[in-house]
Symmetry: C2
Subunit: 110 residues, 2 copies
């Protein structure tokens, strides 16, 4: 969990593993748009409440999101604006990757 003194590439790997879950990706994407209460996230993501809490816990412990009580609900927000940049850059890479693979498939089939 980003403990100091460990080699940097270890921390990087750990960080990417934190992003390596569909629910956590969705949460971050939603939080990049605006902050959300837990019940709002629950309405958007198909997942059990306790599972959502677990995933929020993972993101919280990684330092990627912040929690805040407000008027009987718990609101979450991304902790750093850099998260948005990273997700965009991943989307970029992924769409090139998918296009390339579609191209390859087309080439193989025709």
């Amino acid at each position: 969990m980003l403990t100091p003194g460990q080699p940097l590439y270890q921390a990087k790997a750990e960080f990417f593993r934190t992003l390596g879950h569909p629910a956590r990706i969705r949460i971050l994407e939603l939080l990049c748009e605006r902050d959300h209460a837990v019940h709002e996230l629950l309405a958007e993501i198909e997942i059990e409440p306790s599972n959502l809490s677990q995933q929020l816990g993972v993101l919280r412990r990684a330092g990627l999101v912040l929690q805040q009580r407000e008027a009987g609900e718990v609101r979450y927000a991304v902790a750093l604006p850099e998260v948005r940049t990273l997700l965009l850059s991943a989307r970029e890479l992924l769409s090139t990757l998918i296009d390339d693979q579609a191209g390859l498939r087309a080439q193989l089939q025709g």
Copy 2:
């Protein structure tokens, strides 16, 4: 492994999991500098040969690196320039994250 038809956030999660291993991160970082033969990677990364091959296999199947035989050795290269951008953007985020956490620790301790 980036199969078409699955929801996008699933593909994203899978993609990040591919990056979620210290050896694979190191491989990609080295390949972002220049392409390397397997034995060159082996000299840089502390890992058993068969393990390195396994990790290269993961990256290859994900479409992130390309393999090429040449003069009795196998050379690897990153498949897309976008990989470099993404790694930089992750480094950016991670260093902010680490600074923030160091700040928090300092605040808590003194």
